[in-house]
């Protein structure tokens, strides 16, 4: 289909920059080598909740080789935060989690940094620590943020404290519908904190230029967000801060929320550079990363559903208690998304869900790949199987029965357009052999679905500069992390300009030169930068046609561009090389620069008028459970996805596999473990169990077609949705194998065996 209409789109060209990554060329932030740079390091709180009585840095400052020691007293009295401004870059008065930055050092070597950090004397007055969000909400709990008021929209009878934000979802008359339901199923689900654990360590490097400006290098997914907060916290204008994005070795949302993600490593580094009068580079080690940076929050989810005997869902009520961690971070947004998704993506006319995002003395919530979605889907899709079991209906049939149709509304989407949910379920069932595969002893089969946001969010721009040799240089605001900038973006430019993909170069983000962007988040690279780039390339092409028209003695409308030649349609002999036109532009407009924008308001208006076609997915698997050890082995795994028009099939499959692997890890083994004082027990890769390839099944991906999205050519974002269904798919398969429903993650050998033994009793 794609190949007939397009020359480049729909093919799986080699990823630009792939070879450098595989061969280990020095391309990442950590490889940065600034002249005269010194190293920086951060002193982190050893208490999860305490008052800071005093900080004495005199011994550290006296140490030979130390260039600067900074505390909150050295920085302007300015706080930061995404939704609630509740945090200093270096803790002032109080620390709220073990990992909170308290002071920082710049010194000639990493060894001296380490020694100096040890010589900083901080006197703490420990305060009671709260780790469980439900405990924190109680009146008896200590107050974590004295200066933060409760959210204005809290229900009047809520009687809670330490709530960072509240989301209420309401539709129809759930109380009445629940009372009239034939069957009501009520359950409680819980997921634990995981860390996104990108392999590349987080870095920041800062240099104050002779004119006073600050240049910052960061492996951040949102360089403009970093610039905003660094400028605010150091009280300098935005144009005095330049953020250069280094190559990113994985982020998964863990580097996506401005300076919140790295607990202010960037402004701390900048402050050190200013005080030290030397460039400073900070590299976090893995354990420091795990205890201090943003995570995927744990969520406790109360879910209740009323159904008719025939399997029609009539009502859903529930409550989400979402762990924000020590500061607001991305908690309000992720918790709101989790609350909405607990309403499900099936036709459910009556809904009421309360979502509380709550402060605790733990790491801060970030926008980790599909923030809030995987947690909600674990509850919703496990719950769907529980309802089906109670009704005696096949889980696949039960899901198909409740698929919405065009024009319907679901929670978060007022009007649906094309709905791929049913087709993904049918294909997944067929591929896994639902009802046909003969299962062996201790084996079980499970299915789960998912959805994700299709659009919504800030807009963004693109610039396509056509050089005099006909090659193109592209500026967008999204960074590359295995996503669109080196797959879809160059392909779109090549398609629209009629030049080879390798003649397109997408520049990494430089906030001085690149168009503003909210960050590489929310599966939005192809929607925002893809849309903007397409329009920018078309704009550039129009300028080229206008310049070429007189030379070819034809109307610009009669021209086409192919293989770097501008030709008169129908008269291929009449042509001029793109390079000639681009060079001639020097004497006319200087340079062909195409501009394009993704206009979010326009996109929203389109959706309001014609409806929204969110991506849907269904995953299914077969597992084998060892009844002696509780070990779960995945024998077969299929993932069926609708991502609209597929620009680069292999890139999409890569995103699906990576996302599924991430949630399989959360399902089977991953978890940040705490002791009662709030200390992370498994900060390093020795103890924090990421799955290895040996635990991974082959993920068989199928992409369905025919459900165009809001992105360029009908594409939809594909980076996050693969994280949504796996946990429930595996839990459902375990339940099918053993008859035991496990409602708390991870489905680790110990938790599974414990559940099996409890069920026997």
């Amino acid at each position: 289909m794609a190949k007939a209409e397009h020359s480049v789109l729909g093919t799986s060209i080699a990823r630009q920059g792939g070879v450098e990554r595989v061969t280990g060329a020095g391309i990442y932030g950590i490889d940065l080598d600034l002249p005269n740079a010194v190293r920086g390091g951060i002193l982190r709180s050893q208490h999860a909740h305490a008052k800071i009585v005093s900080i004495d840095t005199s011994q550290a400052k006296a140490l030979p080789g130390v260039y600067a020691v900074v505390t909150a007293a050295d920085a302007p009295d300015v706080k930061y935060g995404r939704t609630t401004i509740d945090r200093y870059m270096l803790a002032k008065n109080k620390v709220r989690y073990m990992g909170d930055p308290v002071a920082a050092v710049a010194a000639e070597s990493q060894a001296v940094v380490k020694q100096a950090l040890k010589k900083i004397k901080v006197v703490y007055e420990p305060l009671p620590v709260v780790l469980d969000p439900e405990e924190t909400m109680k009146a008896s709990a200590p107050t974590l943020h004295e200066e933060v008021p409760l959210p204005a929209n809290l229900p009047k009878d809520a009687n809670v404290k330490n709530v960072c934000s509240y989301t209420g979802v309401h539709a129809g008359d759930p109380e009445k519908a629940m009372a009239e339901a034939d069957v009501v199923v009520e359950e409680v689900y819980e997921t634990k904190m995981i860390h996104p654990q990108y392999l590349e360590p987080r870095i920041a490097a800062a240099r104050q230029e002779p004119d006073g400006r600050i240049t910052l290098w960061a492996n951040a997914q949102a360089p403009f967000g970093v610039r905003t907060d660094v400028a605010r916290l150091l009280k300098v204008p935005l144009n005095k801060v330049r953020v250069l994005s280094t190559e990113l070795g994985g982020g998964f949302g863990g580097k996506a929320s401005g300076i919140t993600s790295g607990a202010a490593i960037e402004p701390i580094c900048a402050l050190l550079a200013v005080k030290a009068r030397r460039p400073v580079m900070i590299v976090l080690d893995k354990a420091e990363e795990t205890i201090s940076t943003t995570i995927r929050s744990g969520a406790k989810m109360y879910i209740k559903t009323g159904v008719k005997k025939d399997g029609t869902i009539v009502a859903r009520t529930g409550k989400v208690v979402y762990d924000a961690g020590a500061y607001s971070g991305f908690g309000a947004m992720a918790g709101a998304r989790c609350t909405q998704m607990l309403g499900g993506w099936y036709l459910t006319p009556n809904v009421h869900i309360d979502g509380y995002v709550v402060y605790t003395n733990k790491q801060v919530c970030g926008p980790v790949r599909g923030p809030g979605g995987p947690q909600a889907a674990f509850a919703v899709e496990s719950h769907m199987d529980s309802i089906a079991a109670k009704l005696g209906i096949d889980p696949v049939e039960f899901r198909l029965k409740n698929v919405p149709k065009s024009g319907d509304r679901i929670v978060g989407v007022p009007k649906l357009r094309d709905i791929s949910l049913g087709e993904t379920v049918r294909i997944a069932a067929e591929k896994i052999g639902w009802g046909k595969t003969k299962l062996g002893k201790n084996q079980g089969i499970g299915i789960a679905t998912g959805s994700w946001i299709e659009s919504s969010g800030p807009g963004g721009g693109a610039m396509v500069k056509v050089n005099e040799d006909g090659s193109a240089t592209v500026h967008i605001g999204k960074i590359d992390m295995g996503t669109a900038p080196r797959f879809g973006i160059p392909m779109i430019v090549a398609e629209e300009l009629g030049i080879p993909v390798n003649d397109v170069m997408v520049v990494n983000v430089d906030t001085d030169a690149s168009p503003w962007d909210a960050g590489t988040v929310g599966s939005r690279s192809i929607i925002v930068s893809g849309t903007a780039t397409r329009l920018a390339a078309i704009d550039a092409r129009n300028q080229i046609f206008k310049l070429a028209a007189s030379q070819l003695e034809a109307s610009p409308d009669d021209l086409e561009i192919k293989d770097k030649q501008i030709r008169v349609k129908g008269t291929p002999a009449k042509s001029v090389p793109l390079a000639t036109v681009a060079t001639a532009a020097h004497n006319v407009i200087g340079e062909v620069v195409g501009h394009g924008y993704c206009d979010s308001k326009l996109m929203a208006a389109e959706e309001k008028a014609h409806g929204n076609s969110p991506p849907f997915t269904a995953h299914a698997c077969i597992v084998e459970v060892d009844p002696d050890t509780g070990n779960v082995k995945i024998l077969k795994y299929v993932a069926v996805h609708d991502v609209g028009f597929v620009i680069h099939p292999v890139a999409v499959e890569g995103q699906v596999e990576g996302a599924a692997a991430m949630s399989i890890g959360q399902a089977l083994c991953e978890q940040v473990v705490f002791d009662t004082n709030g200390r992370t027990m498994n900060p390093s890769f020795v103890d924090y169990l990421m799955p290895t390839i040996n635990m991974m099944p082959r993920i068989e991906t199928t992409l369905v077609h025919g459900y165009p999205g809001a992105g360029p050519y009908g594409a939809k974002g594909a980076g996050e949705i693969g994280c949504v269904p796996p946990m429930a798919a595996i839990a459902n398969a375990i339940c099918n194998a053993t008859g035991v429903r496990i409602r708390t993650l991870p489905l680790s050998p110990e938790n599974v065996l414990r559940a099996l033994r409890a069920a026997k009793r």
Partner: protein
């Protein structure tokens, strides 16, 4: 931090005598380097990798002598080990990643004395002996008295492991190493169990059963009471069950982020049962009745 590269055992021993607890011996470095990064730096490092004569696998009479600097990978790829000591081979085969196996030494695994050390329960069960070098001479220490606690051996701070002697298991015996870890070889064992059974010539009764337990006590241990229950008895599923329960009772695991004490006992029971069934079948060709 000082760094020394002694070229003989006596040179190494004099460094240890001089620096005592301040000195840290390094060979493969897979544990020591991580400790330096995350824990305290030692006063000095004594790199023993250059000392000659400690890197060979040799047959001597009815036993195998392995130098402490032999890497796990060398053991894993040794034909001699594979043929004569398949139990040790199995433990080395399930030992972390290939990269780590290429670097880590058996001496390091032993001297680290981690309760979960992969080769320790098998060596205990095989009746291995350690040759320990001190400044006043060599001493032979059986493995069941070598380990004194997590990270502690009878070498103390002044001794050097000179060789490991492993007698060949009796004819007709069969051994197995079963490791339970969430991530398999790429993970520290939650429980590691080595089982060696010696049936009588008629394949009717158990002449001897040896059970080694890893990661479930302050040191790797033998499940002596379970072994005694099995000795001289015909093996049936009821006896297997009783011995497995006894082994679990003999363990004294801790609770940590890898698993609770209770769970570890469940696994000791399950793997002991599995180990006895598997080795009995391998040795006799018969299922446990």
């Amino acid at each position: 931090m000082d760094y020394f590269k002694p070229e003989s055992v006596s040179e190494a021993l004099s460094l240890l005598a001089k620096y005592g607890n301040e000195a840290k011996i390094i060979a493969g470095g897979t544990d020591v380097m991580v400790d330096i990064k995350y824990k305290e730096e030692p006063g000095c490092l004594v790199n023993i990798k250059r000392i000659p004569g400690m890197s060979a696998i040799e047959e001597s009479g009815g036993s195998l002598r392995i130098g402490p600097l032999v890497t796990i990978r060398e053991i894993e790829t040794s034909k001699l080990v594979r043929e004569r000591l398949p139990l040790l081979w199995e433990a080395c085969h399930q030992f972390a990643s290939l990269q780590i196996r290429n670097t880590a030494t058996i001496g390091g695994n032993i001297c680290r004395a981690s309760p979960s050390g992969e080769t320790l329960a098998p060596l205990l069960v095989l009746g291995a002996k350690a040759k320990l070098a001190f400044s006043d001479g060599e001493k032979t220490e059986p493995f069941n008295s070598l380990f004194q606690g997590p990270g502690k051996t009878s070498l103390g701070s002044k001794g050097l492991l000179a060789a490991i002697e492993i007698p060949y298991p009796p004819k007709g015996s069969s051994g197995v190493y079963l490791k339970h870890a969430v991530r398999g070889p790429m993970d520290i064992a939650v429980v590691g169990i080595a089982v060696l059974v010696v049936p009588d010539s008629a394949a009717k009764t158990l002449q001897e059963a040896r059970i080694g337990l890893g990661a479930v006590a302050p040191t790797p241990i033998r499940a002596i009471k379970a072994e005694a229950m099995l000795r001289g008895k015909p093996l049936d599923s009821k006896l297997v069950e009783q011995a497995a329960q006894m082994a679990a009772a003999e363990s004294s695991p801790i609770t940590d982020q890898r698993g609770s004490a209770e769970y570890r006992r469940w696994i000791v029971e399950a793997l002991t049962r599995r180990g006895l069934e598997q080795t009995w079948k391998a040795a006799t060709g018969k299922e446990v009745a």
